[in-house]
């Protein structure tokens, strides 16, 4: 994205009016452009004034208790709940801090704005008591798990040990409810690092998750090869 193109995106970004792919492209420019960051800070301050537009209603008292109990030390982050997750949260934090933004929340997934917010979202997801987990198994070697929150509809696929694919091929994630699998995004596996892929959706709808190898960079509308890994959602019959 050129600076001129990016400049045209600043107002829409401040209004949260960009599509997820545009957000990623714009944020990539933003990290390198002081001028756009300043422009954004100003327009964002104006946009924030619109926040007070709707009629002001007091939130329920119960919400305060609920939120405060979630942050009090007594309910401090639980230890890793799944054996494969040991140490992963810290690693995830580090990886995301190092700017592995491209691995996060692509395509039809929810796009998050702030890098560190992304990191904390991931940590939150991995440690939240309401998160659920699905392990995937199949012909491929490697360890792949989906951690998802059925309430917030956020999820992350955590993949390690998957074989890196040659150019022109990608791993594609499918969520299966009816006869036609729904694409949940594509990703590349790194040589050594763990890959995190953001997956958004109403997980209660789905029976299963599957991964197949598809032509890159965009993947296929429907799977063209046999899935190498599959997993069933808890409660799916």
């Amino acid at each position: 994205m050129t600076h001129e193109e990016a400049r045209e995106f600043v107002a829409a970004y401040a209004l949260d009016a960009l599509a997820p792919d545009e957000v990623l492209a714009f944020e990539a420019h933003l990290t390198a452009c002081e001028q756009c960051r300043q422009d954004l800070a100003e327009l964002r301050n104006v946009a924030a004034e619109l926040a007070t537009g709707p009629s002001q209603v007091a939130p329920p008292e119960a919400l305060r208790a609920q939120i405060l109990s979630a942050v009090r030390p007594a309910s401090a982050r639980p230890a890793a709940r799944w054996p494969w997750m040991a140490g992963l949260a810290a690693a995830a934090a580090l990886i995301l801090l190092l700017g592995a933004q491209d691995l996060w929340f692509q395509r039809r997934t929810v796009t998050l704005t702030h890098v560190v917010e992304q990191q904390s979202q991931l940590l939150g997801l991995l440690t939240s008591p309401s998160s659920r987990e699905v392990g995937l198994a199949g012909a491929a070697r490697g360890s792949v798990h989906l951690v998802f929150n059925p309430v917030t509809h956020q999820g992350v696929l955590v993949a390690s040990g998957l074989q890196p694919l040659g150019p022109g091929r990608v791993y594609q994630v499918w969520l299966i409810a009816g006869p036609r699998p729904e694409s949940a995004g594509v990703f590349q596996a790194g040589q050594t690092a763990t890959t995190f892929v953001g997956i958004g959706g109403d997980f209660a709808r789905y029976r299963a998750i599957a991964i197949s190898v598809e032509p890159g960079p965009g993947g296929s509308p429907q799977p063209t090869t046999t899935p190498i890994l599959t997993g069933a959602f808890p409660g799916a019959s």
């Binding site: 209004l15 949260d16 964002r44 104006v46 007070t52 537009g53 560190v116 939150g124």
Partner: protein
């Protein structure tokens, strides 16, 4: 905006304390912003339960992400309200995806969509400021901000070229800024 508001500085200090894990500071911040955050989500989603979920998500986001706050990116207040808006837009879009009938069929008229979005505005100050914009700028801003539509969807809806929509958004925000400055600062945080 450079207003030199004491409250703004105060919020910055609170956020720094929250970043250190200070629950007290977080409580103060909650009491200050829970109203505006919840009201924004409720106004956009028109659903109390969904608004509570968004508000929870926003405040946990503040708790976990306070260290990411960067004054270079705007005031603490606008950081919090942007986060609230961002989460509300996500929720609006999620709900919209799960509506069986495409919205384009339930909303027959573009004017309806705009007036539906504009009905969400109750603050006299914001109403007056929006009134200073051209109808096209106003439509672009309210569809984006309160309706949660993307610039491309707005172009499709209004039949205007994408480039025009982009210009309306920028010019609309700039005009809104001067209108708000004329209207003076609001007392709500």
């Amino acid at each position: 905006m450079a207003g030199g508001r004491v409250q703004g500085d105060d919020d910055g200090a609170l956020l720094r304390s929250v970043a250190q894990g200070d629950v007290r500071a977080f409580e103060t911040l909650y009491d200050r912003y829970a109203g505006p955050v919840y009201s924004l989500a409720r106004g956009m989603l028109q659903d109390a339960q969904a608004a509570q979920e968004v508000a929870q998500d926003v405040f946990l986001g503040i708790w976990r992400g306070a260290s990411a706050f960067d004054v270079e990116r705007g005031s603490p207040r606008s950081w919090i309200l942007s986060l609230a808006h961002h989460k509300s837009v996500d929720a609006v879009r999620r709900l919209r995806r799960h509506v069986a009938v495409p919205l384009s069929e339930t909303m027959t008229d573009d004017a309806d969509v705009v007036s539906e979005a504009i009905r969400k505005v109750e603050s006299a100050r914001v109403q007056v400021a929006l009134g200073a914009l051209s109808a096209e700028q106003r439509a672009a801003l309210v569809l984006a901000y309160y309706g949660g539509y993307t610039q491309r969807e707005i172009a499709d809806r209004t039949g205007a070229p994408l480039g025009t929509v982009k210009t309306r958004m920028r010019d609309g925000l700039l005009r809104l800024r001067s209108a708000l400055e004329t209207a003076g600062k609001e007392t709500v945080p």
